[in-house]
Structures are given as C-alpha cells and as structure tokens.
Amino acid sequence: MTFFKLGDDIADTRAPDVPIEQRWDKRRFDAKLVNPANRRRHSVIIVGTGLAGGAAGATLAEQGYHVIQFCYQDSPRRAHSIAAQGGINAAKNYRNDGDSVYRLFYDTVKGGDFRARESNVYRLAQTSTQIIDQCVAQGVPFAREYSGLLDTRSFGGVQVARTFYARGQTGQQLLIGAYQALSRQIDAGNVEMHERTEMLDLIVIDGRARGIVARDLVTGQISTYLADAVVLATGGYGNVFYLSTNAKNSNASAIWRAHRRGAYFANPCYTQIHPTCIPRSGDYQSKLTLMSESLRNDGRIWVPKNAGDTRSPDQIPEAERDYYLERIYPGFGNLVPRDIASRAAKNQCDLGRGVGPGGLGVYLDFADAIRRLGEDKVREKYGNLFEMYDRITGEDPYKVPMRIYPAVHYTMGGLWVDYDLQSTIPGCFVVGEANFSDHGANRLGASALMQGLADGYFVLPPMLGNYIASNKFDKVTEAHPDVVETVNEATGRLTKLLSINGERTVDSFHRELGEIMWDECGMARSEDGLRKALGRLPELREEFWRSVKVPGSGSQVNQSLERANRVSDFLELGELMCVDALHREESCGGHFRVESQTPDGEARRDDDRFAYAGAWEFGGTGEQPILHKEPLNFDYVHLAQRNYA
C-alpha cells in the first residue's frame, strides 16, 4: 500500500545560475526595490517574535514598512529562541585556525548529510560574519577574553572554533538584542504589536497570501488582519512528539494551516534528536531539558563496559568504563555531530549498558575537566548549565557525572521555500526553523541561531521588497468572500472543539501521539513500524474529534482550547512525517531507517534515488499527499559518505 501520489519535480528555486559565491549578490542586484517613501504604504504581517521574526520585524520597520506582528506569548521577548544555550557560528576566522566562508559552507553541507540546497547554505555562511557585527553593535554581551576581544569555542562536527557565545545563554542574549531593536520600532509606531494573539489560519486571495485570522487569547475575539505579504516565523514542530526540548506552547499550527492552503511542506521527517538532554523521570513529565552541546567540549561521555552494571559511577574503575565516542570516532571524539552522538547513546542503551532509571541514560563526566582546569574555570564556562541540572535532578554535577539521554530538539523540515524564502504561496514567506532551507538532514550545533538571524536581518528584507515591488496590491476588505470563508472555518473549528465534550483530555491525546511518533518515527525508523503508525494515527485523529474534552468557553482565556487546536494540527502533521519517513528508503542525518545502514551501524544514504528535498502538497484531509521532488545538486561539496572517525 502506498500512502502518497507523485507530482511534478520542482524545476526552479530562483537561485541565479552563476558561480556560488556570486549568487546572493546577483539575486540582490536583480531584485526590484521599493522607493523608501513608498514603503510606509505597504504593510507586512509577521507571525512570531523569535530570532527570525524579531529580526525581520525590526529590520523591515527600520526600512519603513508598516509591520503588523504577532506572538502568542505575553511579550515578544519570550519566544523559544531564548532557550538556545550554546552559541552562534560565524566564519570570522578570528582564531586564524583555517576557517573561512567556504569551510563553514562545507561543514554545514556535510553535517547536513548532503540533503541541503548548496545555494542557500553558501549564502548563510556568507551572511554569518555580518550577524556578529550587528549583534555586538546592539549590545549583545558575547563572552570576551581579557584582551577585550570576542571569545569563541568549538562545536560538534567541526574542527575550528567559530562559535560565539554568551555563557550558556546565547539564545537569550541574541533574542533580547532583536527584541530591543523591535521594541524601538514599536515605540516609533512602525510596528503594530499584538501579544497574546495566535494565528488560526492564512488568508489567501487570488492565489496570494494577504492576511491571517487570529484569536486574541485573552478575550477570545477572532479577528482578521490584512496586508500585502505574510511572513511566518513560527518555529519548529518538535512538539509533535509531546516530549521535546521545545517550549510547551511551541506549535505547528501556523505552518500547518499554510500547508493546507497550498504551501508545500518539505522533509517533514527530518527531526533532530539532541544527544545531551536530561533523562525523563516519570509519567507526569511535561517537557525535556537540553544540556548544551558545548558541554561536550570538556565533558567525556561513557557507559559501564558491562551490561547491567548498577554500581554508582565513582565505584566503576577507569578500566571498566567505555568512552565509546572517543573509541569509535577518535578524530572527533565527544564532538561528533548530533545525529551520530544520539544514535550511539541509543545503541549503548540497547546493549543494556545504559545508566539511571530504566537504563535510559549515559554519563557525561566532568571529572577530568575539573582536574585539568579547576572547578572555578569549569564553573565560569558552564555554571548556569550545572545549576540547571542540579535543580532538575537534585544531583550536583561537580561531584556526580551528569546523566544524559537524547531528546527531540529541532526540526530541519518545514515549509518549502525558494532561494527568496518564499513558499509555494506567493506572498507567504517563511523564515527560521519554520522553513526547511539550510540544514539538510541534520543541523550542526550553533547553526540555528545563525540561520534565524540571517533570515530575519539580512535575507528576507531585500526579497520581501522585491516581491512588493514586483506586484500590484488591490485593496481587500474583511467583506471579501475568501476572508469571510476563512474566518468561518476557523471559528467553526473552535466551536466544534468546544462542543465535543468527550471523556479524554487534550494532553492524553497529545501524549499518545507523542509515544507513537517517538517509537516509530524517532531515532530509528522501520518500514513495519511506520506502517503501523500510519494505521494508528488516522484512528487517533478520529477518536480525538469524537471524544476530546475541552472545558470552558471560547470567549475568555482558555488554555485547553489553545492546546486542543494545536494538537489537532499535530495529529495531521504526524501522519505526514510518517509518510515522508516511509517513502525515504535511505538513512541520512537525523533520519535513520534500520533497513539502510552500513555494517558498523552508520547511516547509509542512497544518493541515486534520494538526492532530493521531498516537498509535499496537501491532498485534502484524509487524502494522500502529493510528493514534489526538488533535485539537489552538489556541484561544490561532492557527495561522500560522512566520516568522523
């Protein structure tokens, strides 16, 4: 049984056909410009205020556009970019250690296991250096050396130190920078900010994105907002798994609704499972917490050599420990890319060598680093992370090795965009984690912040200007039949959710969905498992619409209703992820099909059949989705088996 139909290939990504280092210059030169005096006559909706959305809002407003911006949180400063810990990559080569734009490009394409679009990755690497300049000018307090110059460190999958950081809170500092820039534009009247307001649907008129339907989460009021273009900066969809390192309210509804309106969804099965998270402690667990990858610079990962060894870690002598990453991958050691580190941890636990409750954990040990550097130096580098670990587990990592286990962290898939970051719906642009563009099948550490800010500060603004300058915008009003219909659909959906009054809570459905996804579409995926999931998910969706219980009304704060609406979309998206994972009969990056591995258990790609991005067109509720392939060409970084040994 197949689960999808095959459509036409995607022929044109709009990347200019010139040498790669000239493409972005050429695209910007070819782009049409909007006269500064005319910009205020054009309005742009931006949904989300994370790094990509916040940066885009501030920049477009500085340029003179009228920005209407939304976030579901009570303040634009709270978007989940804030939780990124480790750092941001940039090809500054301040260390003189052989870094360059080309090397950052090369590392990212290779790290993504040759499933990213070369043009986009090269542009990302080019833009990276400007981001650091911009952030420093805004007052982002990056870590500095005693010379007063910026410090950098090394991250997974990389042999240069190109990661700029602000202790273990880099995402927070970058987001506060973008938030402050946005605040300045709000104060100047250039940005109309709607907090505690959630997008329910995208308004498409004559084939172009012209607005959104949104709900005020305090009053329950459903309103329409109209503009010349819509930018989705709504983050990833890791919460499909229920347990992930995402914020509790991070959701996929904006991108899923846009997908249902015609935007292709690319590579939905590319999920990043982060190797260093705090293991779960019980059934009540509501989320998982990441311990930054930067810890792998100094922490050593090990398990007991003997399966079922229950001695406390200090009782296990050196000779009976297996530092398995250092053993299997001597070249990169503890700093192999995330997908490899996660799978290795799972393999050790599958062998019965896992530690902690349920044997689902491995040690991340700082004893050597403390001996080598002293406790003070370790505290200065990682103090806040150690504190966080202590608070959650009640254990002191200065004395007892941390226990870590992989958890869902980031989604490389997202809405398909062309080189201009425009989706298949003209006028609907997608930035940051919400799009699929730069990381292929696996994202390297410290590259999410880089991509979010590159998209928001530098890539989107000229491309959005080009779109506005290239089109005429007839005035649309709320009375337009397409607007009315979209509002009615959104309202009807919420009314339906409130009226079911069944016997199961929203969270019970979400947990069950998460378990199915983790078991069958998590770290290891098999044909049998995915088919099983695709049998169960439609049943679960029907059960949800038959028996979910959403208390309260729609005309007040109703957090159950908010969750129910999000989970209803996750249920559909989960199915598409499984279809994508089933169709991709190869292993690449974070997508590991057990049928496609090398004799020593590494991911085996099938470049002859799968060197493409899989962009899915919505086929209708309960109908088969349609696959469009964007062929990927590797003209610069030649296809090769990744080797980190």
Binding site: A83, G139, Q169, Q180, G394
Partner: protein, 248 residues
C-alpha cells in the same frame, strides 16, 4: 506525596477572586511545580471543573513566562529558581501550599494566576535598546570591550523579565528590572551615545506605568531567579543623577 494546594481563583479582572483548596494525593518529589499544576488540571478537566490558568512556556527557567507566589514568596522557597524549575522535593508530604498570582498595582490579574506584565515591555520600548539599524554595524572587533565590563553587562542582561522583583517589592517597584537594563546597556561602549536619555526615559516610563518607588528594601534581589544584584540599582541612581545634571 500528598499535598494541599490553596490556589487563587479569579475568573477575570472584574471578579473579586478567592482562595480555593485542592487536594493533590499523587504528587512526586521529582515533579516540577508546574507539573504539579498540570496533574491537578488534568483531574479538574475530567471532573468538569475549570482548570487553573497560569502562564508558562519554556519550562527551563529562561523565557520568564511563569511565576507565582508560593507561600508568600515570589517563585517559592528556593533561591535563584523560577517556578518551573522548582521541584516538589523542596516540600514535605502533607504540606499545605498557598499559590497566588504576582500582586502589584502595575500587574492586573488576567485570570487565576495569570497577570498582565506589559508594563515591563513599555519600559524597554522607552529606550531599553541601542539604536543600531540592521546593516549599519562596524566590524565586531573594532571596539574591544574589557572583560570585566562585558561581564557586568552580561550579568545584568540575564534578566528574564518575569516580574518577580516587582511582586516581591512592598512598593511594587520595578527598579531592579529597570536598573538591570540601564546597567547592561550603559556599561558598554556601544551604549554610550544614548546613555543619558536612556536612563531618564526608562525611569520616566517606569513611573508612568504605576510601578512604585524604591526604598532599598532588597526583597527584589532575593526573589530574582537570575540573581541580578542590588548594585544595579545603585548604578541606575548614579546614571540618573549624572544624566539629570546634564553631564554627558
């Protein structure tokens, strides 16, 4: 663990509100405080009651969304800990725990434990930024910043805007929040050109939002989950005086 929660219930801004007691017989020491509320809410939902509304998001102590007063203390008994990072191992079996929203004139209750903290955003909008349009930045190494200054800026920039300082202050003052931003930006060479206007505008906005005056009681810094020091308020006062005297 068996716990009794006495929770502030208030249907909306117009409601007068009341404490309501709930038994939670199945608490676990490894649960976070918000997970305890989740467990209670699941039960309330199934019993046909209205679940308790509270703000939360990242649940790792950095977004600043969560925050309730627990037994009279903002974010509860553990130092430098947000409500989401507070675990039930800090409590004993049989405890009765009072749970209330942030209490302050400038923070209206939206529903139950959820309050309106938008006043803090408006303080930032009044000048809590460095004006640097995208694309205008000089090369990052053009201006070295001595490490102690960068560290001071960073320590103050770690503020998560949760509002615990305001909730803990007997005057409902937002001085710690405001001073953290002033100290962050005014310490840095990049923040120097707007230094005087920044402090004057932020303090003016703080007053206009209805936050109280500072009388140096120091409750704010004790409640602060990020440990913003009281020194920052001294820095703000110094900056304010300097700006008021017109010295640039």
């Amino acid at each position: 663990m068996k716990l009794t929660l006495r929770i502030w219930r208030q249907a909306g801004p117009a409601d007068s509100g009341r404490m309501v007691a709930y038994e939670v017989p199945d608490a676990n020491p490894d649960m976070s405080f918000l997970e305890l509320l989740d467990v209670l809410n699941e039960r309330l939902t199934l019993e046909g009651d209205d679940p308790v509304t509270f703000d939360h998001d990242c649940r790792e102590g950095i977004c600043g969304s969560c925050g309730v007063v627990i037994n009279g203390q903002a974010h509860g008994p553990r130092e430098r800990t947000t409500t989401c990072q507070l675990h039930m191992r800090e409590f004993a079996d049989g405890d009765v725990i009072d749970v209330e929203p942030w209490r302050s004139v400038a923070f209206g209750v939206v529903k139950d434990l959820m309050v309106d903290r938008s006043g803090l955003d408006r303080i930032i909008r009044a000048g809590g930024y460095i004006s640097a349009n995208t694309g205008s930045a000089p090369e990052a190494h053009a201006t070295p910043v001595p490490k102690p200054i960068a560290d001071t800026a960073f320590d103050n920039a770690t503020c998560i805007g949760c509002g615990a300082c305001v909730a803990a202050c007997p005057n409902g003052s937002a001085m710690l929040f405001t001073s953290a931003k002033v100290t962050h930006l005014n310490s840095l060479p990049q923040g120097a050109p707007e230094r005087a206007d920044r402090v004057l505008n932020l303090v003016e906005a703080m007053d206009a939002e209805g936050f109280g005056g500072c009388t140096n009681t120091g409750e704010c810094t004790v409640a602060c989950p990020k440990g913003i020091p009281l020194d920052s308020i001294a820095t703000l006062n110094r900056e304010y005086l300097r700006a008021s005297l017109g010295r640039k």
